[in-house]
Symmetry: C2
Subunit: 221 residues, 2 copies
């Protein structure tokens, strides 16, 4: 299963709010410049009111949760999975399967800030994570041009069927807190759109069930 977390709400603090007190004090506290820290709704909420599309931005916790669910899964540990993070503003984060994502959120944030600063992590030796410019369309093309989407309005499948369908697919999940894909074509050109249950699930919940279904299908659980 290749998981693509799309339009993920992770980015460095945009220039237009560098001088906002909520941002400046957070950066100073952490000994960094405002442009070097991740935008975080939990810390920078007062500064985000005027940001375009602000409700869908500043949620690195979504990426953290999904990476924890995926990287520590049996699917990934058995070499049957790979995850790519496509971000708002068109960056692609590649994560090698053996990458142990920090379980502590603050350590994860520091790792992501290093990644944005250097384009790779760790700074030396074999890179485990890499960041480069890239569009969602380009990534999906690179991954073979065929994908399925997990979406609240998708078709319901029995759990076992869903697992079989996802195990060998490129699976796109939205990495944003609210609303829908800005890239409408992701849904329109998908080979299939599946829902997981009858209610909207956040990204980590959807990925948890997709991975469990694929693992059950592969006989891992």
């Amino acid at each position: 299963m290749i998981l693509v977390l799309a339009e993920s709400a992770i980015e460095l603090v945009p220039r237009e709010i560098w001088s906002h007190p909520a941002v400046a004090s957070d950066a100073r506290r952490r000994g960094k410049r405002p442009g070097e820290i991740l935008l975080d709704r939990a810390r920078h909420h007062p500064a985000m009111a005027g940001l375009e599309d602000g409700a869908r931005r500043g949620r690195p916790d979504i990426v953290h949760q999904v990476l924890l669910v995926f990287q520590y899964s049996l699917l990934n540990r058995r070499g049957l999975g790979r995850v790519y993070i496509h971000t708002r503003g068109d960056y692609i984060i590649q994560v090698k399967p053996q990458t142990r994502i920090p379980k502590n959120y603050n350590n994860f944030v520091s790792l992501m800030e290093q990644l944005y600063a250097l384009g790779r992590a760790p700074p030396h030796g074999d890179s485990l994570m890499e960041l480069h410019r890239g569009s969602l369309a380009g990534l999906l093309e690179q991954l073979g041009g065929r994908w399925v989407v997990l979406h609240e309005r998708g078709a319901r499948r029995r759990f076992a069927e869903l697992g079989a369908a996802l195990l060998n697919s490129v699976v796109v999940v939205g990495g944003f807190p609210h609303g829908d894909f800005s890239n409408r074509w992701v849904l329109e050109k998908a080979e299939a759109v599946y829902s997981v249950g009858d209610e909207p699930l956040d990204a980590a919940q959807a990925v948890c069930r997709a991975v469990a279904a694929a693992e059950a299908s592969a006989g891992l659980i």
Copy 2:
């Protein structure tokens, strides 16, 4: 499904290390006294070297991850689940199903510190979470005296069978980062001990699959 996260690695900083620089500076930075903040391996590692059983302490992120997986699940949202946190040092944290756990880890830590300070959260109105003294044995007795355990050395069951077995059970999962239950009787007196896959899983991974299996069994996914 009633989930009991047992011997969870969450506690306030113990008195013996209040004066350690790593603790004192963290408390000062957060405007709190050392005895009011959660012990956190990611922040207080230098202070924990001499702590008894230190390798199994100071991991509130484990409780956070499990609560996120459980509280935002379809199982819980449909009223088919309930979670209790039993902590190291014998506290019991009760969490009402409608409790929306903060997705941001730092906000979660603040909520837990309020809970330890006041015994409840939020401070006024209907409480959503409550903390009180209590043993694991007392809790399991209160919940009917019959339980199953998820454990790496448990019996493997097909995913569908596991779901059916867990859906209407009290399910105990270890809330500690390493090692095994200190309460050996938890395993010895359990009605059944199940494993999820052939490799050890961290608590959140085990709970993610247990919940997905129970949901599939209940026809929710």
